[in-house]
Amino acid sequence: MERIITAIKEAQSLWKIILCIYAFQFILASTIGLQMMQVLDASLGNSLSLEKLESGFDYTVFTDFVNVHGGSFSVLYGQMRWMVLTYLIFASLISTGIIYCLIHKSSQISDFFKGSLQMFFKLFIVDVVFAILILAIMAISFALTGMLFGIAPTSFDTELVFLRWTLLISIIALLLIFVLTLWKIHIKFNYIKSDQRIFNSIGSGFKSFWASKWRYIAYTFFFLIISLILITMNYAAGDLPLFPMIILIQFIALIKVFWRIVFYKVIGT
């Protein structure tokens, strides 16, 4: 716990970087949000159906909208896909920048950029490899679950057997993803901290993670649970009137950036 409190304190000092990351994500997401607003305004802006949305979701308004204006939705969806893919490159820069600043105890934006750009290429390759591994684990577990679902009616006595298997697969997949994530963070820390070659960092990263694996995994669980609570709060905030909702959901988005830095700090040091 003490470790988390220290990390929170240290993360606070990185507020400029936190704001910078938040602003970047916000601006990127807003380009879609603004377009969405235009699409909705053009198609529903003068319809009395809008009144039905004042109290929340309305299935009929929504389906009629999608049936008629679904085309403009798919354009936005297409944009979103590209944006997400592009963001992944930036995500690598950002995580490298954060770790660089944490190691050098610097809260300067210039250091954040310096660190992220300097170390980018080698760490980006590590990121891509690990991302592929994580996606592969997810794909395999989905495929396994799907296969079990297919054979369930003719092979299992009850759906409980299927559910237990699914739970087991999910836990194993989650643990493997945890391991890969933690290992990768350690690689980044080790690589930035020392002048090791990247291959050495991969080895030393694993060693330093493995030395206290269960503690790290416990931290990750804790981190995940807090994130889930934040997401739930974010979802619940949707029922608030417009202005308070905007304030709250954006605050939560900001906190989540902060929380991620806390996590890096806890894991990497």
């Binding site: 198609s43 009929t60 995500a91 009616p153 009850t158 949707g238």
Partner: protein, 658 residues
Amino acid sequence: MKNYIITILILFHVLGINAQCDAILNPPQSARLANYKMSLNLDHENKKSTGTQVITFKNHSPDTVHELRMYMYLNGFKNTYSTWIKGAEGNTFGQDLTSRKPEDWGWVEVLSIMDQSGNDLSSGKKYIHPDDDNEDDETVLLVPLQKPILPGETAEFSTTFESRLPRTIARSGWGHNDFFLWVHWYPKLGVWEQDIDGVWGWNCHQFMRQTEFYGEFGVYDVELTMSDHLVVGASGCLVSDTNNGNGTRTKVYRAEDVIDFAWAAYPHFDEIKDRWKHVEITMLSPPEHRSLQPRFIKVLKHSLEYLEKHVGTYPYNTITIMDPPLVGLRNGFMEYPTFSTGGSFYGFPKGIRTIESLIVHEFAHQYFMGIVANNEKEAPWLDEGFVTYFEDRIMEEYYGEQKSLIDLWGFKIGNAELSRAEYTSMDNHREAIVAQPGWKFKRYTKELVYSKTGTTFQSIRKMFGQETMDLLMRTYFDKYKFTHPRANDFLSIAKEVISERHGLEAGNNVESLLHQALYTTAVCDYAVKTVRTIETRTKQGLFGTRGGEEKKSEAKGVKSVIQVERKGDFIAPVEVEIYMASGEELIKKWDGTDFIKEYVLDGEVVSVHIDPKENLLLDIDLNNNSYTKENNKDPISKFSWKTSNWLQHIFQSLSFLM
């Protein structure tokens, strides 16, 4: 003393069982033209049964019957050449048919058939295929009679037969752990009736994938003998239950005034008994679904209550609900007389009420197809459409409008909304008409037969009110219960009832609405095209003799020009509601015929709304039915903010990949 007590106990037991069979509606409700006395031995290990059958058939027509035609529907699962499977050999109902073992296929066979004079009719029997040229299909058996059945005469036929269930593909079959659902397990007569042209004959179609069943009313006395480890549920009421002492037990059921008899068996069923007024409820459910059982019973009682109040009393005194275990899931989601099957999974969330919706649907079939026994093959909309309407009504009555089906984490969907959306979201609304035989649908059966019809009925209810709708349904039910009505029977009652209560014009409107919805592919879409405000000026030009005095134009007030349009080819009269800036509210009646209708009004318009009560639910886009200048755009802002916010969260979650 001990013997005395045992005798009393046995007596109570027997009385208890027999109480199920007390008829609540005397005399017999139907003409009881096709009656079956059957005795069956189940060999559960081989999924096979051997049976004897005495069929009593009454020729109620003025014509002579020279042959029998029988449904042999288990043969639809005999091989990949049956009409039911043909064309879908690779994969049917989500099942791979290429790797089936011989014991996975099912069949039914008449071993012998004799008339009451002792003539053996077996040698003449042959399979026919009146609907297609598929020589390999064995789902309709023709038996030529040596002694024709004269008009008004009753004939008796004795058969011996054998049937084996398939490993379930759909409808009927077995699953491992000794799960069985026996549907169309016996040779069953078609319906001797007049066709559209008034010619008497057998209505006995082959078993086709898109179609369900059609049978004649009668009494079923069925004796089932099977291993005593099986828990059994069946159509009708339990007359007796005897342990034979040799590891088997015999259960005798009687079902009166029904069109079919189905039964299920599984060793692990919980058997839950409950009661609603005169109806004994039996629920068969696997133990892993125990927490869901109260949901089934509750919604079943809601259905009984609603249908009694709005349609008519449930005439039978039993209903059995079978919630299949996973191994029998493919047998679920179907309806048989006094026996409905559901479908559920362990831990199904309370906020998702598809379990309830399904039970309501299947139970409503007791009324429409079970009691009002339309031909489910030739006019499936006559039961599925009605049932969808009642499913939506019952669900919304007891679980709330716009949230009856799903009410979870702020995400809400009502049953009627979903039915409408199933139709309006079709990518081609002109794919097919509703009122056609089931086998003609290539796709969109659900969207058209169920949802479009249900939504059409919902529209009629909204237009004329619940009372009128109830009267319409009740009149139809009362007139056609225990018979086989056709589309026109319902259509003329609809016109009659609406005309009587709301005038001839309303009757004609309903006739036109039903015709367009069911017999055409017309698409309904009314929209506000434009609303313009123009400044009006006072008199301009010269006035008086010889030029006179020039009057200057001066701005004086505004006029509004509203154009409403009919974008589709479906025509229905609608109201146009107009709010003026002065606070005045105008209702204009529009017959909905013209492509564009223009209204010019003095003053400024605040809003225009075509069909403001949203009666015409078949309108494929209700959002374009209205226009207003002054809208609170918070919902748009909210939705847009939420979209970008979720994108922020997606970015943040993805950050962990990198």
